[in-house]
């Protein structure tokens, strides 16, 4: 036989081996059940003879024999090539499955050792993906649940971890898993199967949101701590806010001019915190109006807001000692529709010409229409909202604007209550935390990208993808 045949035969011989090092340390640490239970191979892959027996060339009659041998070699190589491409890859190594920690019981982790025909074991990987199947019986019908492409996992790692998602009805049910390797042409290898079943469990705490819980406890703890501090008599400084100082001035102006005040608590419902904050300001405005004997009208866009606003205004009048002056008809419902509401308000403003207009709550496109109409009738306007897109319109058209957190601080500021002022200081602690995270994050990213520090880069990625992503 020629050297070429020997070389062809040699190149086709495959090492048949199994990972003899046992289970990987990470799987061992988890103490998960595992086994190597190869199923019946769908097609064997045999060795093609011993190459050492065919490497002595024969003399004589080389012309004819050479041509015949070349043809023979070609046929052998072609047939062998066909066999090689049709043969499925080697099955994966060990497989292990276990419950995913710290979740709602809707995930199971499956880890397995890559096939010997896959990187990093094979120089030329022959595996396209891994097929994971599961069943509720060890010998039942296994159904495909996931395919993991080899490119999805780190090529240097011998182990692939996959998460299998479950439905709520499957939570707690026992499953067996089988993993097979799928070759480049779609041939499926023998499978490896878990020997004991795995069931998911619902954890008490969602660890994916752990960091959010930490930040929340820090912020709320600071707020509660400062409230407690304020109750003990500590003096807390809050900077003056022009818009809130102007509330009294505006109500007084309305009283002098003999015209009503108009209070618009936004267009959203009571489940929106801005509406609640708006009603808190309404309480103070109504109290002032009761003291000065001015009228305040509160047209609302939501029925529930109307009932809450009525209670608020009535209590304010009682607090001011003017229960007789309260008129429930001044707090009324108009319509839920955004532009129907603003059409009513603008018409009302043009007809009634209020002297003071308060826009406190959540607004959208109607913000500028209200503010411009109020300006055209000569009213003093104080606005407050936490909608960033509407703030520029209010700033441009109103006399005073409470921006974002100033609006939320309004109730505490106007009441002067030490408890509430303490919460404002606690809020500032939150700002310090945010500022610190900003500085740390910017520093880490700068070091990581410009400085080339991999530690900083990893830390920055952890900060961004884990801590700040809601978990």
């Amino acid at each position: 036989m020629t050297v070429a045949v020997c070389q062809a035969l040699t190149s086709l011989k495959r090492q048949r081996g199994r990972p003899t090092a046992g289970i990987s340390p990470s799987l061992l640490r988890r103490g998960l059940p595992f086994a190597l239970t190869p199923g019946p191979s769908p097609g064997g892959r045999g060795e093609i003879g011993n190459p050492t027996s065919c490497c002595t060339p024969h003399p004589g009659d080389r012309g004819r024999r050479a041509a015949a041998l070349r043809t023979f070699v070609l046929v052998i190589v072609v047939i062998s090539g066909e066999l090689a491409s049709a043969a499925p890859p080697a099955p994966p190594g060990d497989v292990a499955a276990g419950d995913h920690d710290g979740d709602d019981g809707l995930k199971i982790d499956v880890g397995f050792v890559r096939s010997q025909d896959d990187a990093p074991f094979a120089a030329t990987p022959m595996v396209k993906e891994y097929l994971i199947r599961r069943a509720t019986e060890p010998d039942g019908l296994f159904v495909e649940v996931r395919r993991v492409k080899t490119g999805e996992a780190d090529k240097e790692s011998e182990i692939i971890d996959a998460e299998i998602e479950l439905t709520a009805a499957e939570r707690g049910e026992q499953f067996w898993f089988r993993v097979s390797a799928v070759g480049l042409d779609g041939e499926v290898s023998a499978y490896v199967q878990t020997t004991t079943p795995v069931a998911s469990t619902r954890e008490l705490f969602d660890r994916a949101r752990g960091w959010l819980a930490v930040l929340m406890i820090a912020l709320c703890g600071a707020i509660v701590a400062f409230i407690a501090l304020a109750r003990r008599g500590a003096k807390l400084y809050v900077r003056p806010i022009a818009g809130l100082e102007a509330v009294e001035e505006a109500v007084g102006r309305a009283t002098e001019m003999g015209r009503p005040c108009l209070f618009v608590p936004g267009i959203q419902d009571m489940n929106e915190i801005q509406t609640i904050a708006g009603l808190a300001v309404l309480s103070r405005v109504a109290e002032r109006a009761a003291e000065y004997d001015a009228t305040v009208e509160v047209p609302t866009s939501k029925s529930l807001v109307m009932t809450a606003a009525r209670e608020t205004v009535e209590a304010a009048y009682y607090t001011a000692g003017r229960p007789d002056a309260f008129n429930a008809d001044r707090v009324y419902y108009v319509t839920d529709e955004q532009f129907g509401y603003v059409a009513y308000l603008t018409g009302h403003m043009v007809r009634e010409k209020p002297a003071a207009c308060f826009y406190m709550g959540s607004f959208f496109a109607e913000s500028l229409m209200l503010a411009e109409t109020g300006n055209s009738v000569g009213a003093i306007q104080v606005a407050g909202t936490a909608q960033p897109s509407q703030l520029p319109f209010f700033v441009a058209a109103c006399d005073y604007t409470l921006i974002g957190e100033e609006f939320f601080a309004a109730s505490a500021y106007l009441s002067g209550d030490p408890d509430q002022l303490g919460s404002l200081k606690g809020q500032d602690v939150g700002k310090l935390i945010v500022a610190a995270l900003l500085l740390v994050g910017c520093g880490l990213f700068t070091l990581g990208t410009a400085g080339g520090s991999s530690v900083a880069e990893h830390a920055a990625t952890y900060l961004k993808t884990v801590i700040l992503s809601g978990g």
Binding site: G105, E137, L141, F142, A396, G404, F408, Q420
Partner: protein, 605 residues
């Protein structure tokens, strides 16, 4: 006390919502709390409506300034409420009605019982049977018992309830047992949702006998009688035009008598479809030969002015193009491709018990059936011969070679979807009108067939609606297309809303005129930035700085705009949003803890 309870409810609901976010087992509690809010808001709508009526009536009675607006408001409110509440002009939802079915109430206890051996599989967590079978299925004494006949959705629910093979095999056996007799298969069903028996289409005497034999419980005769009457009730509708090729098969529930379509029982959707197309024998649009195209051209031009060159080209193209025999051959070959068929659950169970490790759920595909040369010849004839009907084609295909039931049904469905002569002429008329003009007479010539076909389909639709017994008259959406409410919304509300929204442009202009004044440094910066942003979003701005070289491309208006929005505006926005988020958290905590009670009315309680 008056404020204590709301405070307690607020605190409890708030903390439940917070903890539910972190504790997976309590996630649904948060959803329940949110649902309670929706219920309260819905109740508050009544209060709001009542308040609106009261306030507006007071304005009218006091003749206050603007009382006319109050009157209009009240009228609009009342009209919209009545039209919306009573669903004026709303038809029953098509996806909720049971077209072609007759119903008769029948309690589950009077249904026949079917039983097979079997046990409930043991689950880690106890789980009730699927809701669709609870009223009809029982498991006791080692037997699975089902009352009535199992529907496909019930079978699917039971199969997916547990994936063990023994369970699925038992369910399969139960389904086989709980199948109606052969005469009633596919037409008889029991609806557990409203405990009634249903029958599809017209009930023949043989089917009636089979039904009486199948339900023998005393007390069920009334239901069977009612069902029989409903499934035999005659309904008729006038027909304006009857296709000359109409051929209703014997045994069909529909006949044409004295210019009326008469149906026994409700007209089923499949019968309706067949009547509209297949039984009507409407001529299929086939590819025309040159002399046939010339005939059409002469016919059109003799009824009006000559066609333009483009129109003649269109006519040649449309009339010379139609389905081909090769397309039908491909349809048949595709349908004839052998597909693997699923094994039954009992077969899989048997394989499992034999010890086969890797169970394969599908059986290998058989041999494919392809179109023979003789069959192709039949298809080619069908493609050109208008006298060659679809029924004749099927007969010819059967005679010329193997034809599987799947191939036949696919072929018939394909033929039913081919455009008719009327539809082709309609499309031709539209294209000719786009390319030029046609006289009224020419349009009539082209659309005559289409009009007749439309009349026929309309009359069949009228018959189908007349024979249908509405089950849920109020199931349609209140804002359904064509209803009174949608008319109000589309033609009154939307234009008014758009008008108000359009006013915003003028308000923006006036606010900008007032705000963008160079009074101080901050105002100058604001004015300059606004100038750049406004210009940068127009072609004029792009043109103004397009001359800048590539090294200074960042100074071009459009790039400056992007940079200002991306960096400065985003930074400011984020700063405000951070403050808002913190203020939001602080305010929420104050409200939850009851520290801030001003929204409930300040003061002590």
């Amino acid at each position: 006390m008056k404020r204590t309870i709301p405070l307690l409810i607020t605190a409890l609901s708030g903390f439940v919502l917070i903890f539910a976010y972190f504790i997976p087992a309590t996630e649904s509690w948060g959803e329940s709390v949110a649902i309670w809010f929706d219920i309260l808001a819905a109740i508050a709508y009544v209060l709001g409506g009542g308040n609106l009526i009261k306030v507006q009536l007071k304005k009218i009675s006091d003749r206050k300034a603007g009382w006319g607006y109050a009157a209009v408001t009240l009228m609009a409110f009342t009209v919209t409420l009545i039209i919306g509440l009573f669903k004026v002009g709303v038809t029953p939802a098509r996806n909720q009605e049971y077209y072609g079915e007759s119903f008769a109430p029948l309690p589950v206890s009077l249904l026949p019982e079917f039983s097979v051996p079997g046990e409930l599989p043991i689950k880690q967590h106890p789980q009730a049977l699927p809701p669709s079978v609870r009223s009809q299925m029982q498991v006791a004494d080692g037997r699975l018992t089902f009352r009535g006949w199992m529907r496909d959705d019930q079978f699917d629910d039971l199969i997916s309830w547990d994936s063990r093979l023994e369970w699925r095999a038992n369910v399969e056996a139960l389904q086989e047992a709980a199948t109606p007799p052969a005469e009633l298969r596919g037409v008889l069903a029991y609806h557990y949702e409203h405990q009634s028996l249903s029958f599809l289409g017209r009930m023949s005497p043989e089917q009636e006998t089979a039904l009486r034999t199948a339900i023998i419980e005393p007390g069920a005769e009334t239901a069977v009688e009612r069902l029989r009457n409903a499934a035999s009730k005659e309904t008729s509708a006038p027909v304006e035009w009857t296709p000359p090729t109409l051929s209703i098969p014997a045994g069909a529930p529909v006949v044409v008598e004295n210019d009326r379509l008469v149906v026994q029982g409700p007209l089923t959707p499949s019968d309706r479809k067949s009547l509209e197309r297949r039984w009507a024998g409407l001529p299929i649009a086939r590819q025309l030969l040159d002399f046939q195209i010339r005939f059409w051209l002469t016919k059109v031009t003799s009824n009006g002015p000559s066609l333009r060159r483009e129109q003649v080209e269109i006519l040649n193209r449309v009339l010379g193009t139609a389905f081909t025999a090769e397309e039908l051959r491909d349809v048949l070959n595709t349908a004839g491709q052998a597909q693997p068929t699923p094994k039954s659950w009992r077969e899989l169970l048997a394989e499992q018990q034999e010890g086969i490790a890797d169970l394969e759920p599908m059986q290998p595909a058989g041999e494919s059936v392809t179109v023979s040369d003789a069959q192709l010849a039949a298809l080619e004839r069908f493609a050109v011969d208008p006298e060659f009907t679809p029924d004749a084609l099927v007969e010819a295909l059967r005679a010329a070679g193997p034809l599987t039931p799947g191939q036949e049904s696919k072929l018939r469905a394909t033929i039913d979807g081919l455009p008719t002569v009327g539809e082709r002429n309609y499309a031709l008329a539209l294209e000719l009108l786009k390319a030029g003009s046609l006289s009224t007479a020419q349009i009539d010539v082209l659309l005559n067939d289409y009009r007749n076909e439309r009349h026929w389909r309309r009359d069949v639709a009228v018959l189908a609606e007349a024979s249908h017994v509405v089950k849920y008259p109020w199931s349609g959406q209140f804002d359904q297309q064509g209803s009174g409410f949608s008319w109000l919304y589309r033609y009154i509300f939307q234009p008014l809303t758009a008008t108000m929204f359009a006013l915003l442009a003028f308000f923006v202009a006036s606010a900008s005129f007032r705000a963008f004044r160079a009074k101080n440094l901050a105002a100058i910066l604001l004015l300059g930035t606004a100038f750049i942003i406004l210009l940068g979003r127009t072609f004029a701005g792009v043109l103004l700085t397009s001359w800048l070289p590539e090294e200074l491309a960042w100074l071009r208006m459009e790039n400056l705009t992007i940079e200002i929005m991306r960096v400065f505006a985003t930074a400011g926005n984020r700063a405000i949003m951070i403050g808002i988020a913190l203020g939001l958290a602080s305010t929420s905590l104050r409200v939850l803890l009851g520290v801030d009670r001003s929204h409930l009315g300040g003061g002590d309680d």
